[in-house]
Amino acid sequence: MTLLLKNILAIYQRELQSYFASPLPYIIAAVFWLLGGFFLVAILLGPQGILAQAAMADQAVQMGLPTPPPFDVAYEFNKAYVGLLGSLSMFVLPMLSMGLYADERKQGTLELLATSPVTNWAVALGKLLAVVSFYIAMVLPLMVCQAIALGAATPPTGSGVFFLSHLGLVLVAASVLALGMFISSLTESTVLAAIMTFALILLLWLVDAVAQGLPGVLGSAIAHLSLLKHFTDFTEGIFDTGGLVLFLSFIGLGLYLTAQSIETLRFQRS
């Protein structure tokens, strides 16, 4: 057991090092931060931003117009911004997951991994943990920016929804990365892996719309697969165990399929 953990940890470290030692992930992070920063400013401070809307509502009261309904700026901002980070991540995640196995395949190190004494799923888990860690490292600075803004709220706001929504973000990201890892294990081409992963994301993102056209149990079963629906629950401050199980299922499925795909690899070339 400890050996297994050690193996996972070793893979994790190796992967993480490769992220922090190569320029591409930093470029991805820089683009992510630029876009994230842009939307932070646009959603919060922009001319159509939430602060401007609130100011307009307050002005209406001073002018003697009917009092608008109460408006929780902090809550709305958190919901809108984390939701947006989710959408933004969907473009970045395929780039993070595309190289996970495809690169190994290209460089010919995949055979080594497949035949090494470390079990396939331990390798997959280590890789997934590493890429999720990198994603968290990407989100953290933006989370700090957001926390600074939320800290200026009057009356002060609680942190429950804030942390729950970011937990949702990480869970969605982990689900997508796990599935992207599987796709990456199928092909030698990183570009193909990224495109396929993106297509899968779109499918899982929009599956709710498809499900609405279908009646009854099948419709609700397919609707349950929607990442967006469960993610929205989290951003709105609802912790739903059904959603949590779905995310964990996607992660588990991604890990399992990856391990299977490496397992079959052993025999494919025989």
Binding site: E236, L257, F267
Partner: protein
């Protein structure tokens, strides 16, 4: 010869798998969408046949398909993958079935009120809400989801009326956005939802409560004294009557001069803005009805004297002849003059308990004076602003008031009273029967056009519900209110945040990338 030609063509047989796959897909889709009739089933079976033919026969030419190690491993992988999918599916099924939701929002925005929870849990029969809407609103869905997760008997369905016209016809849904409640064999229209009108927890809970209690109110509106009409022939109480009808109450006109007595089945009698006097016999009929445990609602505009004083005296209620003026200017914010006082102060009573600062207004209202009478429980419902005054009218109907006179408010504009019925024994486990009376010094507030504004309609409907002696719990569920919160940042803070997130962070990323690139070289 035959064998040889078969072998020649055999290698092409594997391509049969492709049309086979297409047929299977088509069959599955058609079956799911249009139901399992002969055609989809045929497509599916044919497709599976082709698929097998292609896979089995097509590969036999190479002879060793089943013997290959990779095939075995592949088959194993396929089977175990299917198993994993099934397991995950089951796990998710169980997880959704027994999901718990924790609402972490500050004001429990997504949690049902305790009354709603109680009502949903007490449902005995499967109860279904059907919404005919091609585009479900996420907010409504969320609310229905909360209901569903609270009680096991509650389900809901969104039906696209264009895809399922037969069902829409069955329900009598003539337009999109119609919501129905179905329980046991009964089915009734609940409300319309649209972009401007969302599903409300209170409507839903009240509807479910009626399913539970299975008792519809019969509400009589007295006629014959120039009361407001309920048939829509003139501006009157049509909206109010319709709203009662939507709560499955039976609304009837009542001409006491003809019937002589209040009908046995009356749960509530409403006297809505009479301008002419009641005959003594009519007052006596109302009196008898009230004394026997009836419920009466009196909405009496100023400058009218319906002659109901003998009815009101035993309750300690007198109607003031003056008019309440609110000179504080608070009504002007919502476009109301001083003669239409805005009420934001409500009594602690099931009718108004959860109005909490919500607004209702009463154009031309008279104060209702209440004296304490032994045995009668009186709760002032509506209080005018402390800045208000009561002024009398001259004989010509001119309002004369001194601008500078000190305010003398607040005045009670409406009161709810109850009194145990004499000599009536309480059934076991139930509260003793009561006579109930609501008196409001204005009838106009609930007329068409004003009924839907602010809380006016709620005042009326809640009063009727209380008078009908239904369970008081579900009356006053108000939508959850969010905290009014602002983010206040100085310009420096805003600029600082903007510069950091837009400039500093990306630059750090780029610099690190360049450093790594240089190091690699």
């Amino acid at each position: 010869m035959a064998m040889k030609s078969f072998a020649v063509y055999q290698k092409y047989l594997k391509y049969l798998a492709l049309p086979g796959l297409a047929l299977v897909t088509a069959g599955l889709l058609a079956g799911v969408v249009a139901g399992w009739t002969l055609l989809p089933a045929g497509l599916l079976i044919g497709g599976i046949g082709l698929l097998l033919l292609g896979l089995v026969l097509g590969n036999q030419g190479q002879g060793r398909f089943w013997a290959q190690r990779s095939t075995e491993a592949g088959a194993n992988a396929l089977v175990s993958t299917l198993a994993v999918l099934v397991i995950l599916g089951l796990v998710n099924f169980v997880a959704v079935r027994y999901a718990t939701r924790v609402d972490l929002t500050e004001n429990q925005l997504f949690t049902l009120a305790p009354q709603s929870q109680q009502v949903v849990r007490s449902l005995e029969n499967p109860t279904r809400v059907v919404v005919f809407d091609p585009l479900p609103n996420p907010q409504d869905r969320q609310l229905l989801e909360s209901f569903r997760q609270t009680g096991g008997q509650f389900t809901f369905d969104y039906v696209n009326p264009y895809n399922d016209p037969r069902l829409a016809q069955e329900f009598g849904a003539t337009q999109t956005g119609m919501v129905f409640v179905e329980s046991g064999g009964t089915r009734r229209f609940l409300q319309n939802v649209g972009p401007s009108e969302r599903l409300s927890e209170r409507t839903l809970t009240n509807a479910l409560d009626q399913v539970v209690s299975d008792r519809a109110l019969t509400v009589y509106f007295t006629q014959g004294h120039q009361e407001f009409v309920i048939d829509g022939s003139d501006t009157g109480f049509l909206q109010a009557a319709t709203a009662l009808g939507e709560k499955s109450a039976l609304v009837q006109p009542l001409d006491l001069a003809q019937t002589g007595t209040v009908p046995e089945d009356a749960n509530v009698v409403v006297v809505a803005g009479p301008a002419a006097e009641f005959f003594d016999a009519e007052v006596a009929a109302l009196q008898t009805y009230l004394n026997q445990g009836g419920s009466l609602m009196l909405l009496i505009d100023p400058r009218t004297s319906p002659g109901l004083d003998t009815l009101l005296d035993p309750w300690g209620v007198t109607l003031d002849d003056r008019i309440v003026l609110d000179t504080s200017g608070s009504g002007q914010l919502v476009g109301l003059g001083p003669a239409a006082p805005l009420v934001t102060d409500y009594g602690d009573h099931p009718i108004t308990r959860d109005f909490r600062g919500g607004r209702s207004f009463f154009p031309l209202v008279r104060p209702v004076n209440v004296e304490e009478v032994p045995g009668v429980t009186a709760t002032p419902l509506l209080q005018s602003n402390p800045q208000s005054r009561a002024e009398s009218l001259s004989a010509e109907g001119q309002l004369q008031f001194d601008e500078n006179a000190p305010p003398s408010g607040p005045y009670t504009l409406g009161v709810a009273l109850s009194r145990p019925v004499d000599g009536a024994a309480a059934a076991e486990g139930e509260p003793p029967p009561e006579s109930r009376l609501v008196v409001i010094g204005n009838a106009t507030f609930a007329t068409d056009g004003l009924f839907e504004q602010q809380l006016n309609g709620d005042v009326f409907l809640n009063a009727i519900s209380w008078l009908g002696q239904q369970t008081d719990a579900t009356l006053s569920i108000r939508p959850r209110e969010v905290t009014n919160r602002r983010i206040t940042m100085t310009v420096q803070q805003q600029v600082g945040l903007g510069v950091f997130s837009l400039l500093v962070l990306p630059v750090i990323g780029v610099v690190l990338a360049v450093v790594m690139w240089l190091r690699r070289r």
